[in-house]
């Protein structure tokens, strides 16, 4: 499987990463190398095998907590970490032109 720079640009856009031309070239080569290694999985016989997404305690998977109203973090403490905020909300650049 060959990864070219156009594919790198496409994936970078999906991942919301701005890449320099130099990054694009380097990542194309490195991803190619890693994907070449990963290619070996195609040879494993997985017929009849269910995918495993959770390797934990099967009972815990269902352990939902009670749906009760509880205090959350104070708004001012959370907003204090934002790059830009007013008294009550996070601020972002204009979205609608």
């Amino acid at each position: 499987m060959a990864i070219d720079r156009a594919q790198v640009r496409h994936v970078a856009r999906l991942a919301r990463l701005a890449l320099s031309a130099e990054d694009e070239e380097r990542f194309a080569a490195q991803l190619q190398n890693v994907l070449g290694y990963i290619e070996r999985l195609q040879a494993v016989d997985v017929s009849g095998v269910e995918p495993l997404s959770f390797a934990g305690d099967a009972e815990s998977e269902l352990a939902l907590r009670e749906d009760a109203v509880k205090p959350s973090l104070p708004r001012e403490k959370v907003l204090a970490q934002a790059p830009q905020a007013d008294e009550q909300a996070f601020l972002v650049p204009r979205i609608l032109e």
Binding site: R16, L17, F27, L31, N33, V44, V49, L52, F54
Partner: protein, 482 residues
Amino acid sequence: MTTTLSQMSDALARGETTPSKLAAESIERIKALDGKVHAFLRLTEAEASSAAKAADARRAAGKPLSALDGVPVGLKDIFCMEGVETTAGSKILQGYVPPYDATVVRKLKAAGAVIIGKLNMDEFAMGSSTENSAYGPTMNPWDLSRTPGGSSGGSSAAVAARFVPGTLGTDTGGSIRQPAALVGCAGLKPTYGRVSRYGVVAFASSLDQVGPFAQDSRGAALLLQAIAGHDENDQTSSKRPVPDYAAGFGKGVRGLKLGVPREFFGEGLHPEVEKSVRAGIEKLKGLGCEVREISLPNSPHAIATYYIVATAEASSNLARYDGIRFGHRAKGGKNLLELYENTRAEGFGAEVKRRIMLGTYALSAGYFDAYYIRAQKVRALIQRDFLQAFAEVDAVIGPTSPTTAFKLGEKLDDPLAMYLNDVYTVPANLAGLPGLSVPCGFDSKGLPIGLQLVGRPFEEETILRLGDAAELADVPAPEGFR
């Protein structure tokens, strides 16, 4: 500071020292020597001082909160601590001050432990050498030109340099066990679900687990005791009762059955590491363990599986770093898309970008089934191999890392070579099993070698007991740190 964590706990119990004295000694030692190692990203002196004073009073009154009351500890910079900058080794979180404590931090405080500072790590725990930290690498106290391992390299180096007797790290593919092996201390990755991840910066949520570093298995057991257990803020945390992890240490290991997987002794394993690990296995045999060769036929596929599963989950977890709610925001974006793209381009380092790219690719239209679903199926086979082995053995034993500590810079330009460091540690993460690395010897360069024990789910007690029997007693402090 040459005593182990449990010796320190005993000395506090006997009134031979005080929490304030221990905290002051630890901070003094770090200030004198950490310039060479760079284990700590920052000290929490004010917090440590007031926590130690409170512990002084409890110890003096003979009313300690736990065996850890007044013991100095360090935290990988991946754990949120209220009021203390937490960066996960990334520029994108520079200046981030969490408004709350991670559950493990809250539990350590409740046990009376005195938190001395935050420790260096590969950015977002992605790496095996600590060289991917945005704040510069950590050096191995045994040889300052070499890595202390990663991603929890600050946590391992701080214990090896005797800055603190115990630290916490996280292990997604080996990030506790490999650095423990490379510096000659004990490092435990508990069973998936044994310890809460609430307030721990997420990397790959189906693999991440929190665990302790200490000079020996007994110290690791004391720390695990304090942090294990169910947490309603982490749905994956298990409700199983937490046993007394120290209870097994007096019992010996006679009759325990050990499986030696032939796949862990093949090509790539350094002969000196093999020799030392086999000597450790012989030591356990001499103490009455039954040893047999086993096979984990799918374990050679573990690294390829891991680099799909872990990167896919990381690409999703790291979507939160968008410059809106916390952390870095790029200046001058014309619109929201540019703000996102530039923020992430400026904030993430090369390895994090590489993994986000790989994970995004594996999850993207047209590749999802071929990569992600297939990897999850191979993951099921890897888990099945272990569960079959555990029908006939109590623990799996082998090397932690194929080599001793490598030179800083040696693998930085070859991501695949770096990934292959984790060939023996990744299988336990994929299968959700507990794994422990303990020091079992030194190579001809004087670098430590680690032996790994993997146990049945929630049987940390068994591997800690085996680790206690197998580990080198009284590993000296490295030259220059005595």
